[in-house]
């Protein structure tokens, strides 16, 4: 295991390096400059501004400088917020995104497992149909539509929750619900499907024959073996949701990172894009590693550390 881990961590660093490289050169293809009104500037002024951002050097030098900085946690200076280091921009805005994303994931996955399990246990009954329709609706409505509906009906009309902004926990309720719909629906669907399969397999019959309680079977055998697809999708989904959804952050005026990211892509603020991509990629690689380890824990039949036989 230790050897496997060491190997994976080496791969993780390698992957990060490739991602940084690829993204860096892709960004260089985009016409992004820190200049906002190039046409009014003299050549020497433009040269000076480029120099300040280190853009006057050849691309490969910029790349090496960037790598050297990134290792030390220095991701350069944002083009959008004048003189704010990207690391500060990200650290000051990622908190709300992480919080809402995490809440939405926890809520969505737990509810999703419950809903999915109910559906599988009561297969082909009204309970099954209801849970299926609910989870389908969860993925049928885009988050921006759901967010608008929640905001309008629960925020403005009913007045139960604040319409927008960022304050205490109460402010996170609506965005969490809006973001939680996708993980809820996805986990419910996968859990139901897998569990239906598992419930009909021999070892469950055996457990039943042994006289294990219904809940015991569900918990110890059925649920556990139904989690493989869930584990596979939850990781990247969690990283996606936790690194901020521009749509939900915009609608609920959350000072998160999602909108900043979209804005930086559209304005070609590449130091910010790079910074976020690195964080995103790092989180993702870690999550994928955890996923692979979890496979083995959840289903002992799977061996990932070595070659299969």
């Amino acid at each position: 295991m230790a050897k496997y881990l060491a190997k994976r961590i080496f791969y993780l660093i390698l992957t990060l390096f490739i991602v940084i490289t690829v993204t860096f050169f892709l960004m260089k293809l985009l016409p992004g400059t820190p200049l906002t009104n190039q046409a009014k500037l003299s050549k020497s002024q433009i040269a000076l501004i480029y120099q300040q951002y280190g853009l006057d050097k050849p691309v490969w030098q910029q790349y090496l400088l960037y790598l050297a900085g990134a290792v030390k946690g220095n991701f350069g200076t944002s083009f959008q917020f004048s003189d704010q280091p990207v690391s500060y921009l990200l650290s000051s805005r990622i908190g709300p995104s992480l919080q809402i994303g995490l809440q939405a994931m926890i809520l969505g996955v737990i509810l999703g497992i419950i809903v999915g399990a109910i559906g599988a246990m009561k297969q082909n009954t009204w309970a099954d149909t209801t849970t299926t329709v609910v989870s389908i609706l969860g993925i049928s409505i885009p988050s921006f539509v759901l967010a608008v509906l929640l905001q309008y009906y629960l925020g403005l009309k009913a007045g139960w929750f604040p319409i927008a902004e960022w304050g205490g926990f109460i402010y996170t309720v609506l965005p969490t619900l809006a973001l939680g719909a996708t993980p809820l629906a996805e986990s419910a669907r996968f859990v139901r499907t897998e569990m239906v399969d598992v419930l009909s397999s021999d070892y469950i019959e055996l457990a039943k024959a042994k006289g294990l309680s219904r809940m015991g079977i569900i918990y110890h055998h059925a649920l556990r073996n139904s989690l493989i697809p869930l584990i596979t999708i939850v990781g990247p989904l969690a990283v996606n949701i936790m690194t901020g959804s521009m749509v939900v952050e915009n609608i609920f005026s959350i000072p998160g990172i999602g909108e900043q990211f979209v804005k930086s892509v559209l304005t070609n603020d590449y130091p910010t894009i790079m910074g976020l991509t690195i964080i995103y990629s790092f989180m993702l690689c870690v999550v994928l590693l955890i996923t692979d380890i979890l496979y083995g824990i959840v289903d002992p039949r799977i061996r990932i550390t070595g070659k299969a036989n």
């Binding site: 046409a39 009014k40 704010q84 500060y88 925020g155 909108e259 559209l266 304005t267």
Partner: protein, 542 residues
């Protein structure tokens, strides 16, 4: 005006109101609510507070309320005394002498003539990399300094003692007082700039203010920021608001809901919202100083070079329908490049004086005829045209509408392309377009701010429309007629007429801002150019 939020004092104030109202005083503290807090919406976050390097509108608005220049903008872009009590202009219009009043920074330092000299030199200094330093162009030696050809100290501004500033210009400049009133020309406190170094103005604390308000909350990247009354401001006794909470709300639907639920005192409207609030008593329309127009690439394309073709495209557009039915947000038809209400002479608006109705009045039949002739003259049977614009909601509306209008011409195929702002800009600059929707907002209240764009060498002339007559008019307005108001006016009017007659561009609309403002918010001053808002006289009425 010592009203606190305490309820008791509130009742005293009400009582006083009755008494004073009888005396006929209206703008007195008596008519004010006890809580003087304004919740103001912005559509994007505050990116910078550095007077020298900020480039965007939100920064400009905020800085205009936390700082003060030699002069101050008032209603309709008129200038009023600011830090300068008074000023004198020499006969040739080249030397301005400002007499400063005694005033303080929010940290207690004195605001002196040196602060102005320092600020101006800092902005023009190429090392500061200020992207709007070109606004200093009229000041003596500014252009040379920006190109690193002369030392910074040679800039045409001198401090005579602590309370007198003498500015020398290269040539007489009509709009110079307006320039001096914009944030780019505000004073800066050298000791504070030096103290914080790179961190200067990076958050609310590492800065110092000489305006009616000071910034008390802002992390440098936060979506909301707070201005509080600056008690050290020389005119503090007339500043009524205690606090202004700025909130960046990026979704127009959300800001409207926030307004409806009382969390905001004002909100901008967009999309279809203005249509639905036209008759609301809280609805306010503000005319902007920016014009949107179509540039046609006249580098190679024989059709775009053809005057008749350009005219046909302009006449085919029903601007009235566009602004009233499609945009419906307070925008108005553009009759020329210069925005209406920006400049007037002897009571006559610039656009009235320079009107060329045959260039912008909707006339499909005439357009059809001109289009046919143009096709014939260039030896074509049909023409494919791609119109490019920003991917903003207004940009998309424009694309869809203009496309439908142009498609009514015979033998034309119009396709559209909406691109992210920076991509659109870089394609415009490189001449990779056939026709593009561009917009321009005046930097200062003078027609030249618009018209200088379409001279031969100006880089904003992206379609490369060339006209010697036009160039000569602009040159005269900037040069020999600079100190002769009447002649300069004629030059500028002629220039716009030439531009319209030759259809160098197709003007579309003048942008308007529509807002909902709570009826108890009083005294907010709006001006269409530059920083837009002044809250120093605003208050919340009962």
């Amino acid at each position: 005006m010592k009203i606190n939020s305490a309820v008791k004092l509130g009742t005293v104030a009400t009582f006083a109101a009755v008494l004073l109202a009888a005396c006929g005083s209206s703008s007195n503290s008596s008519s004010q609510a006890s809580k003087q807090t304004l919740n103001w919406m912005e559509s994007s976050a505050l990116p910078s507070m550095d007077l020298s390097t900020a480039t965007d509108v939100v920064s400009g608005e905020t800085m205009n309320n936390t700082g003060e220049g030699l002069l101050r903008f008032g209603k309709k872009s008129t200038t009023h005394p600011g830090v300068a009590k008074s000023y004198k202009v020499s006969k040739d219009g080249k030397t301005y002498t400002f007499n400063l009043r005694k005033s303080n920074w929010s940290n207690g330092d004195k605001v002196t003539a040196k602060d102005f000299v320092y600020a101006w030199q800092r902005t023009v200094n190429p090392k500061t990399a200020s992207q709007y330093a070109y606004m200093y162009a009229p000041v003596k030696n500014a252009n040379e300094i920006m190109k690193s050809q002369k030392p910074v100290s040679s800039l045409g501004i001198k401090a005579e003692g602590d309370y007198k500033v003498v500015v020398t210009l290269t040539q007489a400049t009509d709009y110079f007082p307006a320039l001096v009133a914009s944030p780019m020309f505000f004073p800066q406190n050298q000791s504070v700039v030096d103290k914080y170094g790179k961190k200067y103005a990076a958050n609310a604390k590492s800065n110092v203010y000489n305006g009616p308000f000071k910034l008390t909350y802002w992390t440098g990247t936060s979506d909301n920021w707070t201005l509080s009354k600056n008690t050290k401001y020389w005119n503090a006794k007339n500043v009524k608001l205690k606090k202004i909470n700025f909130k960046a709300v990026k979704d127009p639907q959300t800001s409207l809901s926030q307004f409806q639920s009382g969390k905001l005192d004002a909100t901008y409207l967009s999309g279809q919202q203005p249509k639905n609030y036209k008759n609301d008593k809280q609805y306010v329309e503000r005319k902007g100083a920016s014009t949107f127009y179509i540039e046609m690439n006249q580098r190679k394309d024989s059709m775009m070079k053809n005057k008749k073709a350009r005219q046909a495209l302009s006449l085919a557009i029903n601007r009235k329908q566009f602004v009233n039915k499609v945009l419906a947000d307070g925008s108005s038809e553009a009759k020329g490049l210069v925005s209406t209400g920006l400049m007037s002479y002897k009571g006559k608006d610039f656009n009235t004086a320079s009107a060329v109705p045959e260039a912008t009045d909707h006339d499909l039949a005439k357009a059809q005829k001109l289009w046919k002739e143009a096709l014939k003259e260039t030896g074509r049977s049909n023409y494919n045209l791609t119109l490019m614009a920003d991917d903003t909601p207004a940009g998309k509306n424009t694309l869809e509408f203009v496309q439908s209008q142009w498609s009514k011409l015979d033998n034309i195929k119009v396709t559209t392309q909406s691109l992210p702002f920076k991509t659109r800009l870089s394609r415009s600059e490189n001449g990779q377009f056939q026709a593009v929707v561009s917009g321009w907002g005046a930097d200062y209240p003078d027609a030249i701010s618009f018209l200088e764009m379409f001279t031969k060498t100006n880089s904003y002339n992206r379609g490369k429309w060339l006209n010697t007559e036009y160039d000569n008019d602009i040159k005269a307005a900037d040069g020999k007629d600079a100190n002769n108001e009447a002649a300069r006016w004629t030059d500028l009017v002629d220039a716009q007429k030439t531009l319209m007659k030759d259809q160098g561009i197709i003007p579309l609309y003048q942008q308007g801002k529509s807002q909902l403002v709570k009826s108890n918010v009083k005294g907010v001053i709006y001006f269409p150019t530059g920083a837009n808002w002044d809250f120093s006289h605003a208050y919340i009425s009962k």
